[in-house]
């Protein structure tokens, strides 16, 4: 499909808007101001109408200024309600959003009913967005404001990071947190207002929230998150605008939001860091790891310490000790076998023994387990703050002195596992060597 020059320009503009809104919006979300952004967008509608009523013509710049004015008035009322009254923030946001949007709708209906000029206002395109009607002037405005947003985020990364993560600490450093908040919200307001012609007041907040929310599934790092949300926003703007331009009858806002939703759901499912799939795989891997470790420990206790020491063990022996299903026990044994940790004593039997490398692992697993056990018994009050039972090496979490003390304690109680067979072998080989020399 050939794209007209005008369409290309609009595509570029909305994509840039997406990138800028995505990055600015990420900070707004981290600062827990996402809903404030939504309220701001809805509160912009009456301003658009009032500007039109005053000028009696469709002057985009003036109407966007009007939108900015009532939008900012809206969030200032929210901030004042939070500060000076005991109205809770969610209630304040909800009331401001609905009151402003309601009056905006009333005004826009009134304008549409004006017989002489009503149809010229094109207000419906500000409610749900319409990229087709965008002029080159609109796009230039987007470009300037979008670049401004990107530049501000790049320059003030550190400042926005510190107010979003720990605003009290930022204040203790002497940062003007209130001012920075105001600046952040101004950037949000800017993105919202320039996005209005393309996406509309109802759905623009999706462009703020979705890219960052989607990016969060892919990374645990703020820098990466910001870059990703910029890219995501860009892609959403691009695809949404292109689709809405090709499907002429459909408003751009909902299409852009739906493209964003697709991206969000895909990230939710497949995100590398926190996606559902990644977490599920991680959880399964973790369970297998834990299961293997328990299997090795039971095998160790059976083979090296039990009354029937040195005799092989069967899956039934495992089930005596663990409430595993038979299937799970068999599967764990198979996993252990393919990892070279255990081997069947004879092919086709259900009797297994530890391999030499399995013995080493089993010894470590048993030691780790007993150290944690002893630690929890000795320091019950520290359990939830220190203990990471998923970790084999208690040394990473507990100071060495404590580990030594616990080890000594286990040794005294005769519960410190030692590989007797191995040390015997070593003694023999040493004796052998001595004899030779």
């Amino acid at each position: 499909m050939m794209l007209k020059y005008n369409t290309l320009i609009v595509l570029a503009g909305v994509s840039l808007l997406g990138a800028s809104a995505g990055m600015v919006g990420s900070f707004a979300v981290l600062r827990k101001r996402a809903l404030t952004g939504d309220a701001l967008a809805h509160a912009a509608l009456p301003g658009l109408c009032i500007a039109f009523l005053i000028l009696r013509e469709r002057n985009v710049a003036a109407m966007l200024l009007g939108a900015l004015a009532t939008g900012v008035a809206g969030i200032m009322i929210i901030s004042a309600l939070r500060r000076w009254t005991r109205v809770r923030e969610d209630a304040a946001i909800g009331s401001v959003l609905t009151v402003f949007f309601g009056s905006g709708i009333v005004l826009s209906k009134y304008i549409q009913n004006l017989s002489n000029i009503g149809s010229r206002a094109g207000l419906e395109s500000y409610i749900f967005g319409k990229t087709a009607g965008m002029t080159r002037g609109d796009v230039y405005l987007i470009v300037v404001a979008g670049l401004l947003g990107l530049a501000a985020v790049a320059l003030l990364y550190k400042e926005f990071l510190s107010i979003s993560f720990d605003s009290e600490f930022a204040r203790s450093l002497g940062w003007p947190v209130y001012l920075l908040d105001l600046l952040l919200m101004s950037l949000v307001a800017l993105a919202v207002v320039i996005g209005l012609p393309a996406v509309g007041v109802v759905l623009i907040s999706a462009l703020l929230i979705m890219p960052g929310a989607a990016a969060r599934f892919w990374t645990d790092r703020l820098g990466t998150l910001l870059v990703l949300s910029g890219i995501f926003g860009f892609a959403v703007g691009l695809v949404g605008t292109w689709l809405s331009a090709s499907l002429d009858q459909l408003p751009a806002g909902p299409i852009i939001v739906l493209s964003g939703t697709t991206l969000f759901v895909a990230s939710l499912l497949f995100g590398k860091q926190r996606g559902v799939l990644a977490r599920w795989i991680d959880q399964r891997r973790f369970e297998t790891m834990l299961g293997l470790r328990q299997l090795l420990r039971i095998a160790w206790e059976h083979q090296a310490e039990g009354p029937r020491a040195a005799s092989p063990f069967s899956s039934a022996d495992l089930l005596v000790r663990k409430t595993w299903t038979e299937r799970r026990a068999k599967r764990l044994l198979a996993t252990a076998q393919s990892a070279g940790l255990v081997r069947p004593v004879a092919t086709g039997t259900d009797l297994f023994e530890l391999t030499p490398s399995g013995r080493d692992e089993a010894l470590a697993a048993t030691r780790g387990h007993r150290l944690w056990e002893a630690f929890l018994a000795e320091y019950p009050d520290q359990a939830n703050s220190t203990a990471n039972l998923a970790s084999l090496s208690i040394e990473d979490y507990v100071p060495t002195a404590v580990v030594q003390q616990l080890t000594a304690q286990l040794q005294a109680a005769g519960r410190w596992p030692v590989d007797g067979e191995r040390s015997e072998r070593r003694r023999e080989s040493l004796a052998e060597r001595e004899r030779r020399s």
């Binding site: 510190s162 993560f165 009290e168 600490f169 940062w175 990374t219 645990d220 220190t386």
Partner: protein, 265 residues
């Protein structure tokens, strides 16, 4: 060091570390801190102690200008706090932030260098080196790349401590730096505090465990909305003063009694 002149002579005078004068803080008209006058002349390792709701955290926040004061003024090293920000370090309560936030351990410690960096400038190699040194002091070097939510509570507490160390301040305000940590971590944190003290720094820490006050601190501030007493532990940390601070809470007083019978240090 400030210079004061008397007649023709001028003296180098050690500035007063902390001067809290006539401070009252109220939430919805209910006083949380009432007429606090507290002067700490020399550098100290000081514990702020008192029952729940005594205003311990509020005292620290009022000093730092994080909560509005109904009246009063605070000076640090003879100057208003606003002028001494770079000399002040702060360890907030662990619960005060969202640990799910997408930053690494090193990122958080680097925030300690932000105050000195000023606007716009980003932390560079020198700051990262500094942050790593501070992580080493709290034994968390190997964790620098981890997302902060993956740490245990005690480790998170140490990350906050490392961030404060990175501030390279002269006076540190800490809100329960030893809350919810195990005995070994507590000793480690105390070691860091006592090293700071030996380097001539001051530490004002809210502390929740009466039993360890005389062991860890050399100065104590007893607080219960009003200031009950403040001074060196061996003079101020007495049954009479504790009774004035905690009132008739017997179970607690028994513990305190045991502590005091065991003798100071």
């Amino acid at each position: 060091m400030t210079t004061r002149s008397f007649g023709h002579q001028s003296f180098e005078v050690m500035p007063t570390v902390l001067d809290i004068h006539d401070v009252t803080v109220a939430y919805h008209r209910k006083p949380v801190l009432w007429d606090i006058d507290l002067v700490i002349e020399r550098p100290q390792l000081a514990a702020v102690v008192g029952p729940n709701g005594a205003g311990k955290s509020t005292l620290i926040k009022a000093v730092l200008g994080l909560v509005p004061m109904a009246s009063g003024r605070v000076q640090v090293f003879d100057q208003p706090v606003a002028r001494q920000r770079k000399r002040i370090g702060y360890v907030p309560q662990r619960e005060s932030v969202d640990w799910d936030f997408p930053v690494s351990v090193l990122d958080v410690v680097l925030m300690g260098t932000y105050g000195r960096l000023g606007w716009i400038r980003r932390p560079g190699k020198a700051e990262r080196e500094r942050a790593r040194e501070c992580l080493a002091k709290v034994g968390l070097v190997s964790y620098e790349r981890q997302q902060i939510g993956q740490l245990s509570g005690g480790q998170q507490q140490r990350v906050f401590l490392a961030r404060a160390l990175a501030q390279e301040a002269d006076i540190y305000f800490m809100d329960e730096p030893m809350a919810g940590v195990d005995a070994a971590t507590e000793r480690m944190i105390f070691q860091v505090l006592s090293d700071l003290r030996k380097a001539g720094k001051s530490i004002i820490a809210v502390h929740h465990d009466l039993r360890t006050v005389p062991q860890y601190f050399d100065y104590v501030v007893l607080l219960n909305v009003r200031l009950v007493a403040a001074g060196p532990c061996d003079q101020v940390f007495t049954p009479a003063n504790l009774r004035k601070t905690y009132g008739g809470r017997l179970a607690l007083l028994d513990t305190v009694g045991e502590v005091l019978e065991a003798g100071p240090r």
